[in-house]
């Protein structure tokens, strides 16, 4: 396991929804650091705050208090976002893998991957070439012209991983990536994530309820009632 400078630093992050009697404390002071090359599991019962952590790290939800640092740069502190363009930050720094792959249904496998590259500024040719390489790397190159509806669950998830890796992000956030897969395919996905973490020196956070992959993490962060336990 590679331990380097933390790519994700979550410092005493609190998050509440609503006010007064309707106030719900989703996170009550959570701190953790995840370094390059680490694959960390995030577990906990429903309502424990897992999705809130993922949304905050993904810069789509602002904390109520605390600090967030991504890839060495302070992103949230003092009650405000410090980066003006959070979407650009996500595009360049964070890769997302979803439970149900969330591929765009009207794009082929290649185009789904190439889109992210083109959004980051790559030319169409470069984007397609890199997309092809990634699909080959993830062993779905033979399905490059297929639409998501023509892919099996495992193939679609691999294409989704290829999309998440396209811009070589330093941080990858995966939300239940194995929930829709059988045990064998779930292990393959975890192998892939570990390989990526090592090769790209990325920090990977995997939200999961899946017991069959729990032993595949470097660490597991257990959340309960908005606190790490």
């Amino acid at each position: 396991m590679t331990q380097a400078a933390p790519l994700i630093r979550f410092a005493d992050v609190k998050k509440h929804y609503g006010e007064g009697t309707a106030r719900v404390d989703a996170l009550r002071g959570v701190s953790f650091e995840i370094g390059a090359g680490e694959v960390v599991g995030l577990r906990g019962p429903s309502g424990s705050g897992k999705t809130t952590v993922l949304n905050i790290v993904g810069c789509i939800l602002a904390p109520s208090e605390g600090e967030l640092t991504l890839a060495g740069a302070a992103v949230y502190a003092g009650g405000r976002w410090l980066r003006p363009d959070l979407r650009r930050l996500r595009l360049e720094t964070i890769g997302f893998i979803f439970q149900f792959h969330n591929l765009l249904p009207f794009l082929t496998s290649t185009d789904n991957v190439a889109l992210v590259l083109q959004l980051a500024g790559a030319s169409a040719g470069t984007a397609r070439r890199r997309a092809g390489e990634l699909l080959d790397y993830l062993d779905v190159g033979h399905r490059r012209d297929a639409f998501p509806s023509q892919l099996s669950g495992g193939e679609a998830q691999r294409v989704a991983i290829a999309r998440a890796l396209a811009n070589r992000p330093r941080i990858i956030l995966a939300d239940e990536p194995t929930a829709a897969l059988d045990s064998q395919r779930a292990q393959v996905v975890m192998d892939l994530l570990r390989q990526v973490a090592l090769e790209q020196e990325a920090a990977i956070v995997v939200v999961t309820h899946d017991d069959k992959i729990v032993d595949r993490f470097d660490r597991v962060l257990e959340l309960r009632d908005g606190l790490l336990v």
Binding site: T51, L54, N55, G58, I60, L61, R87, R88, L89, R90, L91, E92, F96, F98, Q99, F100, N102, L104, P105, F106, L107, D111, A114, L115, V116, Q118, L119, A120, A124, A127, F147, R163, D175, E176
Partner: protein, 377 residues
């Protein structure tokens, strides 16, 4: 990578079907405009056909189309002698209903003096009237051809010529007969009625009545001056050709024009609402994809472009289909439909604006989509 094009291509059948529906709606809008233009064209046909400069009608009348007008037949002689008048002709206008082999036929009968203004100008078949009695030139829309027989009143007429595009403001086909025949048709009583008139002591009334005298003026003489002269010295009402056309287009068809205008406006509003709903529904269908795009870092312009380009593509394809449909179908309408290029271009511009307006609803929705929705499973 153009996401709008990719999405359209992926759901081509559904998209084209939507465009087809929109196209039919726009075809109806365009047909209403065409019917309106046709109404004007048809109403002006009668006034323009004789190619004259002046319409002399009964005093205090704006006839013969907007109001009734009756003049003694010899008024033509008086008008013909006015300085500047080169040609004058007496005409009558009346609506009749008759039976043909195809069923009942409503006609607009014009009586004119052969050799003088007022007769059919462009024949597509046959010849003009050359006999003084019982010959008729009919419009092609009657369905009659040269050699057919046509019963008007108590007399039977032989079709000797056929014109095209000659209809009244009500859309009835025009037929031309001689002035003498038309006066007989209009004023001659059936024998029993004539006998009863004689029995009650009434003499035979003169049937030498016409509805208007039409006149051509020397190009070197001001038409207004001649009109003033006739008004002052002959105590008759006079309309120039321009005034007659204004009366027809403003008075005779004004209500129809407003009716169609209102209906067209309503159709455009309905079209706007329908386009807005289509775009809105398409956007709702793509909520998950939009959330994913936002989450992976796509800028707003990419998402707005996706919606806006699809809205404009839908408008453009629907509009093209609508225009093609109405252009190919316009001759099948029972009344004339005139599709003019400026109307088509104006509707195109309106459709463009409508699509922009309608897509704002979808764009607003798209911009409000929370990227966290993509993680919601």
């Amino acid at each position: 990578m153009n996401l709008a094009v990719r999405d359209i291509r992926h759901n081509l059948g559904r998209f084209l079907l939507t465009c087809l529906g929109l196209g039919l709606l726009l075809a109806i809008v365009l047909s209403m405009l065409g019917i309106y233009r046709g109404l004007i064209a048809e109403s002006l046909t009668l006034a323009r056909a004789p190619e004259v400069d002046l319409w002399v009608v009964e005093t205090n009348s704006r006839g013969p189309f907007a109001e009734s007008s009756r003049l003694p037949g010899d008024t033509r002689e008086a008008v013909a002698r006015v300085a500047g008048v080169t040609e004058a002709g007496a005409v009558t206008y009346q609506s009749v209903e008759t039976e043909t082999a195809a069923g009942k036929l409503r006609l607009y009968v014009i009586g004119y003096e052969p050799g003088r203004p007022g007769g059919p100008t462009r024949l597509v078949d046959g010849r003009p009237i050359i006999q003084s009695r019982y010959e008729v030139v009919v419009d092609r829309s009657t369905g009659l051809t040269v050699g057919d027989r046509l019963k008007l009143g108590r007399r039977e007429f032989r079709v000797v010529g056929v014109t095209a595009g000659q209809v009244s403001s009500g859309g009835d086909p025009v037929v031309f007969i001689t002035l003498r025949d038309s006066q007989k048709l209009q004023f001659e009583l059936a024998p029993p009625a004539a006998r009863r008139e004689l029995a009650r002591g009434g003499g035979e009334a003169s049937s030498d009545i016409v509805n208007a005298i039409i006149a051509r003026i020397d190009p070197d003489v001001p038409v207004a001056g001649v009109a003033d002269g006739v008004r002052r010295w002959k105590h008759l009402a006079v309309l120039t050709q321009e005034e007659q056309e204004t009366v027809l287009s403003r008075s005779v068809i004004e209500r129809a024009r407003r009716q169609i205008g209102l209906f067209t406006t309503l159709l455009l509003i309905v079209s706007t609402v329908i386009i807005a709903l289509i775009i809105y529904t398409l956007t709702i269908d793509k909520t998950k994809e939009i959330a994913t795009l936002k989450l992976i870092g796509a800028p707003d312009r990419t998402i707005v472009g996706l919606i806006l380009q699809q809205a404009l593509a839908m408008g453009a394809i629907g509009f093209t289909f609508g225009v093609a449909f109405i252009v190919s179908m316009k001759d099948s309408f029972p009344r004339r439909v005139v599709v003019e290029a400026p109307d088509v271009l104006a509707l195109g511009a309106v459709v463009f604006l409508v699509c922009l307006l309608a897509s704002t609803l979808g764009v607003r929705l798209a911009l409000k989509v929370d990227p966290a929705t993509a993680l919601a499973g």
